[in-house]
Amino acid sequence: MQRPEQRDEVEMLALMLLIRRFEERASQQYQAQKIGGFCHLYIGQEAVAVGAVAATRADDYIITAYRDHGHALARGTSANACMAELFGKESGCSRGLGGSMHFFDKAHHMYGGHAIVGAHVPLAAGMAFASKYRSEDRVTLCFFGDGAINQGAFHEALNLIALYKLPVVLICENNLFAMGTSVKRSTSLKQIVDRAEGYDIPGEIIDGMNFREVRDKLGEIIISIRKESHPAFVEVRTYRYRGHSMSDPASYRTKEELEKYRLDDPITRFRAQLTREGKLTNEQFDRIDKQAKETVLAAVKFAEKSAELPVEKVYDYVYVNGAGQAGVSPATQP
């Protein structure tokens, strides 16, 4: 059985920093109106995506909801391709056709970027079904927020996943709010992980602000799944520092609450761990942070310079093998 190489921890910290700096810059570019539509930032949750990716093999499947920048970057999609996607450019990871909520990267086994809450959980079931069908030991990691767990598609998918014993890790990134509605106001359960019990899926709570805990606990689960296909559910407790999207000032929570979580920042915490253990100096940290900032700045320049898809190409993405052959005919044009 192939296992993931133990990824270098300083490298993983650098990845978390890259996500942080990317999102800060995306926020700024959004305000400068370089980025359109909705834009949901991952700041505060970096240890979840990076910790999970550190526990996987490169050929494991990853699928997530609309707060997807962090997952793509963690998986290895370049900052250039991510920023260009936000700018709507052809060099974007989805050629500028998906936008912030629909990042896709087939080469890195990143299967989106899905913006209808809960609707991608059945897709994860299908991807895992395919692995089992082909007798592969690939694992599917399906990320979703606390808002997804009350959606019908989620429940139907969990039952199917459990019934067919599919190799899926269901990762609930519980950041306490579905848009502006707190878990307390949306969910009848005392704790989210109890959802799993209703489907006989083993569940676990993970501290999402702790990179090592995310990596190690998910690592254990993934090893077990590779041995014998089964699902697992983890409630990863995390926090988003920003509003739901760029247009949300997040007035539904207190400054004190935000400050409490900021003190438990996943990057600060991981940095302190590494420093304490003599694996990271302040100079090193400054260097990787500077590197992250430069990478992101270069990505903005790359995105600005990149071309947009010519308008007539829009018909090429409706059907494969014969663009526009169905339905789209000159007669439908006014």
Partner: protein, 327 residues
């Protein structure tokens, strides 16, 4: 020359495609151990085993989405809806996930999936079970929609649908499952391309454009019209998207008069689009306004007499034909 039922024809298509390609699997409610609610999958579990013929719980959204996910990573799922009335529970997967993936991913993920099952009003099933869903789905870019009316078309179109690299809906006609027709022997590969209409009867006075359950209605009506010296040409669309405009225009250029008989609702129905395209492209060929015969614009009543009134029928069709012929 052999005659088989529409149901058998679909069964043969499934078996042949499952045999040909190991990435094809059939999934849905009661498809395996029960052999399909309409017995379309009879014998497939025994032949291909539970790995490829898969019973699901009653979770249309869940298993339709499972199909889309499996298609993202290269399998070729055939998802059976017990009826397309139930596909409405999976609307999000069929409309929002399957056909959008190619565009959203910038061309990285196509979805080679077939959604199939009976569609259209059957007999006294009431409003929830009588939906003709075609006009809901043909308006969605990224979906293809075909509507076979004969056993031969059912087999040929379903096989083509399974091989298509895009999401295709095969809307079968519930009332036609037991109807018979001539189909090539199984050792002859039968593939009917999407987007090719079929003139089921030649005529010179009026073009009756139809599909699915309205094809046998149009054919019977044509015989009645013959007795009144009206020669009707019957154009079976076979697939609505892609639409075979050329075949429609050729028939209209010959007859100059058109009645569209469709099994869906009148408002923004399939006939509305066909009508638009005819007048836009060959307005001068028309000798009379185009008429449409469809369902009445009401939810389907259970009462048999009222249901008959709501559905397109021979009387309505004859009246429409006479009107366009000024007869």
């Amino acid at each position: 020359m052999r005659e088989i039922t529409y149901r058998q024809a679909l069964n043969e298509a499934l078996a042949e495609e499952l045999e040909r390609d190991p990435s094809v699997f059939l999934m849905g409610e009661e498809v395996a151990e029960y052999h399909g609610a309409y017995k379309v999958s009879q014998g497939l579990l025994e032949r291909f085993g539970p790995k490829r013929i898969i019973d699901t719980p009653i979770s249309e959204n869940g298993f339709a989405g499972l199909g889309v996910g499996a298609a993202m990573v290269g399998l070729r799922p055939i998802i059976e809806f017990m009826t397309f009335s139930f596909s409405l529970v999976a609307f999000d997967q069929v409309v929002n996930n399957a056909p959008n993936m190619l565009m959203m991913s910038g061309g990285q993920f196509n979805i080679p999936i077939t959604f199939r099952g009976p569609n259209g009003p059957a007999h006294q099933l009431g409003a929830t079970h009588s939906h003709a869903t075609e006009n809901l789905y043909v308006s969605v870019p990224g979906l293809k929609v075909c509507t076979p009316a004969t056993p031969r078309d059912a087999k040929g179109l379903l096989k083509t649908a399974v091989r298509d690299d895009n999401p295709v809906l095969v809307l079968e006609a519930e009332l036609l499952y037991s109807s018979k027709g001539i189909v090539e022997p199984p050792d002859e590969e039968l593939l009917i391309p999407l987007g090719h209409a079929d003139v089921k009867r030649e005529g010179g006075d009026v073009s009756i454009i139809c599909y699915a359950q309205t094809v046998p209605l149009a054919l019977t009506t044509a015989q009645q019209l013959e007795e009144e010296d009206i020669s009707a040409e019957i154009v079976d669309l076979r697939s609505i998207k892609p639409l075979d405009e050329q075949a429609i225009f050729e028939s209209v250029a010959k007859t100059h008069r058109v009645v569209i008989v469709e099994q869906d609702r009148p408002f923004c129905g399939v006939g509305a689009e066909v009508c638009y395209r005819i007048q836009k492209n060959i307005f001068d060929a028309l000798d009379a306004p185009i008429l449409r015969v469809s369902q009445e614009d009401v939810p389907m009543p259970y009462n048999e007499r009222l249901e008959k009134f709501v559905l397109p029928n021979a009387d309505k069709l004859i009246a429409a034909v006479k009107k366009v012929c000024y007869a």
